[in-house]
Amino acid sequence: MEQSKSPAPLLEMTGIGKTFPGVLALQDVSLRVGRGEVHALIGQNGAGKSTLIKILTGAYRRDSGTVRFDGQAVDFQSPQQAQAGGVSTIYQEVNLVPFRSVSENIFLGREPCRWGLIDWRRMNREAAAILDRFGIQVDVTQPLLTLNVAIQQMVAVARAVSFQSKLVVMDEPTSSLDEQEVATLFTVIRQLKAAGVSVVFVSHRLDELYAVCDRVTIMRDGRTVAERTMGEISKLELVALMLGKDLSVVQRSGTTAFSDGVHHAAAELIRADGLRQGHRLQGASVQVRAGEIVGLAGLLGAGRTEVARALFGADPVDSGEVRLDGTPVHFKSPRDAIRAGIGFCSEDRKTEGIIPYMSVRENLTLAVLPTLARRGIIARDKQQALVDQFVRRLGIKTSGPDQPVRELSGGNQQKVLLARWLCMNPRLLLVDEPTRGIDVGAKGEIQALINELADAGLGVLMISSELEELTEGCDRVVVLREGQTVAELPHATVSQAAIMAAMAHGSAAAPSEETPHG
């Protein structure tokens, strides 16, 4: 690891360890941020970034390691304490009060008072002055929600800075901003830097890191894997480090349970062309044939989940065409899609998958109930047979079909959700990150299962952030970048390097010159 530029960094976290019941979240993690430095912190989901940030800002307590801030060892017990100590946090979701005015949001909790009454004039004047420092002129008496998201983020920054912060942590502040808004935020970040304030910047958009950050710390699997100067690392290298791939040896070893080979793809099953939806989808196209697995790749926010939801009728699209068996279809709700033989296994098991208090049996058969019932009465024996069959086939570990699904482990919940769709014998299955957050054993079983299903003629569209899954499991990989299909790689040419190149640059060709914008 390189030496940081300044001999005494503002923040020095070393040997940080954190264990949650049963999970080792962080192990020997370090983070060094110099004074007036904009420091990028990157890593995939589950790499431990947010845990590290929460430890820094006092939301979590660390199990081991030391934190030195501004020359002193510190141990923040709460976000308020961290704030008082000079560390402020800007969250991904603007964590302010939308109905209240801009000036109130800046001063909430420490409103200037005169004779016990709030001195609105002074509060508004000071709020305007703080924002003015960043070159932002808004009517500070307006409710926050009347302003665009970028200005709202700026207000959050202004609040943070008005606490005389020395370090501002920005946790994916740009995820809901458009390009111009991002530019505004960057101007503010540069001004903070000029004023000697340090910034920890978390983002998944590589271009942004190059535009504004000085140095970068890369995390993977709860460890720090690299600490570099932004100018000395290429995008491709960054992606490779993040995903844990050695660039020179991107080999196709059997690290997944997919049988490495082409399925016998038959007729075209579904085809979507030019899907557009707000600024999240800007011309995404994908097609799946019966009996093949199509991978959908892209960085976070590239529009992968949006494509799957659009195909499933869960969200309306602004324009674009979906054809099923060659005929245009318009699914108004998931119910329509299910009737047409499509299943969708969503990424977020908790909020969009399981019904926590219902049993394994009911969760497993929820989508298939209409076909199990006659005149609305569920045929209990048929239901039980189906549940038994899939519990056995998928190896779902449960104390019995009556066990509430929330008591199962993540991998077994995922199997129940897969079974929910498989038991309706679908033609097309959309799976969004099917192996995220589950243990290695279950992961292999699920991969093998998807493979087996495709062999049996099922069309599968698989969203995944794991390159092995894409290169080894898929017949084709469609790469999305900023809501747009930028590459389609057939099995013969698909490689981790090609996917990474497409995700980073927008084409599968070898990297050309870097073009940071902003």
Partner: protein, 334 residues
């Protein structure tokens, strides 16, 4: 499973303990009811006297019928404040129909049939109105049903001009005072409705869908559950059952007073549901529990009254029981 492996073992302990808590919770209400009954058999004279039993059951029947509908609404994560007002609407309409001179006098059964059917359908339609505000306009259930809480009783009063309607129609009064095999007719109705809805919740797609909508609406939609239709249905059913309860109440009294029929019923129904163990946050429901909850509240009131403790004090005890029941449920969730 014959061969429990490591994973299973690891999860089996919390499973057992939550199971235990769940058992204690479900049967907790039943045990409390049992204790109340045993206490009364021992210490309250004439408790097992058929007249006492019948009077207790008669009083609790309309509450249970309304509370069953309320259970379904709450299971979807909603609430229905309009049930008392809808009882008044149904109660106001029925006498107008069977006392109407428009009906053929030589076929009294037509009049009685219509007097039973139309008010219930009207109440059901009002329920659908509630449901459409919740499902289509996404108005919070408490406000959506507050509209008819306020306007519903007014409609009943306007229809009857606020006057007490007395009647002596024995055919109609049968649903209130009929005693087939010595059992009050409305108690048979109550048992039938509780059994029917409890059965439906367990065995029909509708029952599964109700719980799925309340348990995780986003997931339910993605699994193809017709969320809008389910919400319409539960509010419609709640209105329908409130209408039936309104008819029973006026049949018992042989008169219909739009000012008082169903007054405070929404509170009694919600209390029964809560004490019975259905959480107000939705996703779980026990219809039998609601029956038990209503019986507990009724019996506590009866017990206190029978031992010379005033009705007013019984209300305070009722309040304490509701809070305790909800608190225990919360403990279980945590």
């Amino acid at each position: 499973m014959a061969n429990p492996d490591r994973t299973l073992k690891r999860v089996s302990r919390p499973v057992l303990s939550t199971r235990f808590a769940a058992v204690g919770q479900t049967y907790g209400a039943a045990l409390a009811l049992l204790a109340l009954i045993i206490y009364n058999i021992g210490f309250t004279p004439f408790f097992l006297n058929p007249a006492t039993v019948n009077s207790n059951l008669t009083q609790v029947a309309p509450i249970v019928i309304v509370a069953v509908g309320m259970t379904l609404v709450i299971a979807t994560g909603g609430i229905d404040l309009s049930v008392g007002a809808l009882m008044a609407v149904a109660g106001a309409l029925a006498p107008l129909i069977f006392l109407s001179t428009l009906l053929p006098a030589n076929y009294p059964f037509i009049g009685i049939g219509l007097a039973l059917l139309i008010p219930m359908l009207v109440a059901g339609a009002f329920g659908l109105f509630n449901g459409s505000l919740v499902a289509y306009f996404k108005i919070q259930p408490i406000i959506a049903t507050l509209v008819l809480f306020i306007a519903g009783r007014g409609i009943a009063q306007v229809v009857t001009n606020g006057a007490l309607q007395n009647f002596t129609n024995p055919g109609f009064r049968y649903i209130g005072i009929g005693r087939p095999f010595g059992i009050p007719f409305q108690v048979i109705l109550m048992v039938g409705i509780v059994a029917g809805v409890a059965w439906a919740m367990r065995t029909t797609t509708f029952g599964r869908y109700v719980l799925a909508v309340g348990g995780n609406e986003a997931a339910a939609r993605l699994a193809g559950v017709p969320v809008t239709r389910i919400k319409l249905a539960v509010y419609g059913l709640s209105g329908l059952l409130a209408g039936l309860a309104g008819l029973i109440v006026i049949a018992i009294n042989a008169s219909s007073d739009a000012n008082s029929v169903g007054l405070d019923m929404e509170l009694d129904a919600i209390a029964s549901v809560a004490v019975g163990g259905t959480p107000l946050t939705g996703g779980r429901a026990t219809v039998i529990g609601t029956l038990i909850g209503a019986l507990i509240i009724q019996l506590i009131r009866y017990t206190l009254l029978a031992h010379g403790i005033p009705d007013a004090a019984a209300r305070i005890v009722k309040a304490a029981i509701i809070l305790a029941a909800v608190y225990i449920q919360r403990q279980r969730r945590a």
